[in-house]
Symmetry: C2
Subunit: 423 residues, 2 copies
């Protein structure tokens, strides 16, 4: 991370006003293993280990020789993998005596996980929710409110960052980048408050690796090992969670895998972005991070996978991409919903719009196996259920959803504005 | 069961046009154990054994010496215990070569479970959904439609039974009794079609006992045994599922328990109903069943726990009530939602409105323990999650929900019209 003012590397103490201290340590850590605290383990154990399923019905429907496995993170109380990081983040802040936490949320999965965690530890939560999702998903908001969170539609008029956007465009539907700006501002302008981020950061990716680590043990029990590991990519923690433990083994000279990140065609930071230093947010309040980016001023169109509407990508995932340790592929919205419905009919679980991207990726690889007559083992991260996204399915079934064109000009413009940093 | 025309007992062959043959055998069976078929086991095994949780946070919040356990059935793909019966019911019909299944649903939990099961076995499903829920819960309907079901709001204009109701009251919000009439009519007027019922019948209660049987094993692992077993009561299969295995042991001279059925104060068949022969439906197409009933023409008010809006009660549960093997208690709507929110905040899971009744019952007993200074072990059935009922929580939090007055006159009138049968 680089300080945008000085051009010098960010040091841990600079992040102190923003993040819990233990989390900053984790962010900068070079340790291979960091122990999960006992109190965090006890909470996670309510639903972890999450199930690893063989998608036998989907295999049958696709008539593929591939073996498809999926890790189902939707069994967590908030319905997605996000609780894996929300619980430890709030736990460490609580240890430090923090009383308030501000955060952003896209589709609301992170927001509900954080609200649930804050409620558990008796901390007040303020959630800036991307406006398009705030309107599309009132039940997500209701879930956060049940857990005692205060939820603002972002851009909101409660921060300078939000007001600046609204002044230019009162109809702005928001983006994760904007919501991050607002949450960061709300943090530094309120006492005894820290910021929590649901993806992107190293410590978030770290917390999520519990997914892949469990998978390794579970695949062993099933006497199998994946040839291909797939996760959807928004900020990157979903993909990192399932793929990093496998990539780690590969780097140690153990089993080779193909790791595939799947992103929306209308917000394709890995497949079309630039690997460069950029701001993590729209209002440029964060440090500069080297990442695959579409430009911090790019506002992704309002497709339903709100958790994937982010201009950038985790530095660690971007690094993997740059090092050739992973591949990336993108799908337009309609193809991901078609994959989601096919999956639901086969396996009985209605997936979150974000997770349908991983499913589309898995189906593509399974069909390639069929074409080539090879039997590969495919593992993907079914990161959450779609119970709070039913309106999207209703619209899809009614033919009301559309594919968003690749926003070429907007991205070119945003990329032209990248900060000038060497690195 | 008694034939309403002849006054004679119903024989298995009379039910043949309505139900799958194996299910009829189960309905009349006097066997103590009926094996779960291997193919059914394989499907159920995707999410069973369901978790049994100790409600440590709720205990803390209540400051009670009681130990509270809950069995969480919401991890099933359709989000409730209903899949336990939907899978075997559709399986047996499939074996028999049935192509279409008609059913009714209240809140939509049974409908989604049945739609999912039908989709799995390649059978077409037609679901009559109580109109108040059809309007209150569009996402439940969407879930059924994703699984390929055709969903009608009941009363509908697709059956004589529905049209007759609509003629008298075009604004009628429906009831389970009416929806049953429509589904039964749709069954007998269509070829190669059978009817499936989500509760009430012996075979449905039988299928649900997997819940209590698992609890016995799980409680053993936790080195505990319940003093009190609690389930909510609509048609009765939810309560039967968790309580019958424990009642069975008690009848064998093993551990004594108190089994408590919890029902809505506005539809209190166990606490205020009459134990008498009555029709299972509104249009009087079903046999007469001896049960605790409020009268088959009683239309419960439109409270949110749609799965509990039924005038009658499973014959087996009614028999338990009559024999003093169980107790019953009722709660008004606001108290159940308060219990639901308290539970969600403590345990992280937002419960279905039906399940909040069981929670309210458990909280009442736990508080009694606190008052008396006794440490009882309480087990309740958390039969489903509330992800499709968030509007109800939004309305509750906004102060828009109300308690429905006990509909004394309507029930008295309905009871006055009970058929004149000795038994």
């Amino acid at each position: 991370m680089i300080h945008p003012g000085t051009g010098q590397p960010v040091t841990p103490d600079m992040l102190d006003p923003l993040f819990g201290r233990e989390l900053i340590k984790q962010e900068f850590s070079t340790e291979r293993w960091i122990e999960i605290p006992e109190e965090v383990r006890q909470i996670l154990a309510q639903w972890r280990c999450t199930p690893l399923y063989r998608a036998r019905q989907l295999e049958k429907a696709l008539d593929t020789p591939a073996k498809i496995f999926y890790k189902y993170e939707g069994v967590s109380p908030s319905g997605s993998h996000k609780t894996n990081s929300a619980i430890p983040q709030v736990y460490y802040n609580k240890l430090q005596g923090i009383k308030y936490i501000a955060t952003e949320t896209g589709a609301g999965q992170w927001g509900s996980a954080l609200a649930m965690a804050c409620n558990h530890f008796g901390i007040e939560s303020r959630v800036y929710m991307v406006k398009v999702s705030y309107n599309q998903k009132p039940y997500r908001r209701a879930l956060m409110e049940i857990f005692g969170a205060t939820v603002f539609p972002s851009p909101s008029d409660t921060t300078n960052a939000g007001r600046a956007v609204l002044e230019k465009d009162p109809e702005c539907t928001g983006s994760l980048g904007m919501a991050i700006s607002e949450a960061v501002e709300a943090t530094v302008t309120h006492p005894n408050t820290r910021y929590c981020l649901g993806s992107v950061m190293n410590h978030v990716c770290l917390h999520q690796t519990v997914i892949g680590l469990e998978c390794i043990t579970q695949m062993e029990l099933a006497d199998a090992y994946p040839d291909i590991v797939i996760g959807c990519c928004g900020g990157g923690s979903n993909f990192a969670g399932i793929a990093f433990p496998f990539i780690g083994r590969m780097l140690q000279g153990k089993e080779k895998i193909r790791a595939i990140g799947v992103e929306p065609a209308a917000c394709p930071s890995l497949t079309k972005g630039k690997y460069a230093y950029d701001f993590g947010d729209t209002a440029h309040m964060t440090p500069l991070i080297k990442m695959c980016t579409l430009g911090s001023t790019f506002v992704p169109p309002g497709f339903h996978a709100g958790g994937l509407r982010y201009h950038g990508m985790s530095a660690m995932v971007s690094h993997c991409m740059n090092q050739g340790l992973m591949e990336a592929v993108s799908f337009p919205q309609l193809e991901t919903f078609a994959a989601g419905v096919q999956f639901a009919r086969a396996e009985g679980i209605v997936p979150a719009p974000e997770s349908t991207h991983a499913i589309a990726g898995a189906i593509k690889e399974a069909l390639k196996c069929k074409e080539e007559g090879t039997s590969k083992t495919i593992l993907f991260n079914l990161s959450g259920h779609g119970h709070f996204d039913m309106q999207a399915y209703i619209d899809y079934n009614a033919g009301k959803l559309k594919n968003y064109a690749y926003p070429e000009n907007e991205i070119a413009m945003a990329l032209a504005g990248l900060p000038n940093v060497k690195g």
